[in-house]
């Protein structure tokens, strides 16, 4: 019995220590851009789930495809129905690790960390390796995570009909701007 209590206590305190270095937000901002000479398209999703765990050296994002908002309804419909097939593939997930561990991360210290992230992006049912640079800014106890990277539509088997082929870029720029990560309790 005593061992059981001791073990429970140990596990609880261990998980507490682990959690102390985990941060998350349910309101991450992810946007993407397609620029061609004919048309500029952008869409934003303000409800990305982001988790950064310095203990496990991990960063993860989950984003709902139907949560991307476009200025024009027709673009949003084509994006969901034809290109990303969001009924079949409702989520996109990025799972990454920092190339170097962040030791002794302190929320109370204002600073900017530039970190290399290697990971995988699952989109439209296809998983591909993605490497990018992430910038973590800590200011007045608020963490902001910033990153930019580009993906090729062809890598994720996203097919654009020839008739609008010149309106949509083959390469899409993705911007991550995720503020106010909270400490996990």
């Amino acid at each position: 019995m005593t061992i059981k209590i001791l073990l429970t206590f140990l596990l609880t305190s261990l998980s507490f220590l682990g959690n102390a270095q985990s941060f998350y937000t349910k309101n991450g901002n992810i946007s993407f851009y397609s620029k061609t000479s004919i048309e500029k398209i952008e869409a934003v999703n303000k409800k990305a789930l982001a988790v950064i765990d310095f203990t496990k050296n991990k960063i993860e994002f989950s984003v709902l495809i139907k949560g991307f908002e476009f200025e024009k309804a027709l673009m949003q419909e084509h994006f969901n129905e034809d290109y990303l097939e969001s009924d079949k593939y409702p989520k996109t997930v990025f799972k990454g690790t920092f190339s170097e561990p962040v030791v002794g991360f302190n929320m109370n210290e204002n600073k900017t960390l530039t970190l290399k992230v290697n990971g995988s992006l699952t989109l439209h049912g296809i998983t591909k390796a993605v490497s990018t640079i992430a910038i973590l800014q800590v200011k007045n106890n608020i963490i902001t995570a910033l990153s930019n990277f580009k993906i090729l539509l062809s890598d994720y088997n996203i097919k654009v009909p020839a008739v609008v082929g010149n309106n949509i870029s083959k390469e899409i720029e993705i911007k991550v701007n995720t503020a106010a990560l909270q400490q996990m309790k």
Partner: protein
Amino acid sequence: MLSKKIKYILVGLGVLAIGIGIYAYKEYNRKPSDLADTEAVDQISASVIINAYSINEDDANKKYLGKVIEVSGTVAELSNQQDTAFTILLGDSTNSSKVSCTIDKKHIAAAKKYPIGKVVNVRGICTGYLMDVELNRCFIME
């Protein structure tokens, strides 16, 4: 000299082309619809939809994903993100998952008058499930 018949046909075709042009232009510039003017396909309580998603996400998606639905529940939390988005979370303390309703920009001012603890009906489009069941372009019904 063109015959009268051909003239009428040409005028008719011209009118048709202009009509198609106007339709295409309007369609191209169409904005996402305001859900205040859209009928919901289903009415459900916050706890029922949260349960449905936590038990089987795929099954729940088949029922609700991309659909305009009306969810009733108690306001558990309010979240104002850098003044660019306003979210009302419906649910109760027994479940950490909530229904997260992102309010349509046009309806933010009206949505801000509902305090925590108030029971409301929200119409929105279900975009899926992360930690919460997500509803987009929401409008609080009186």
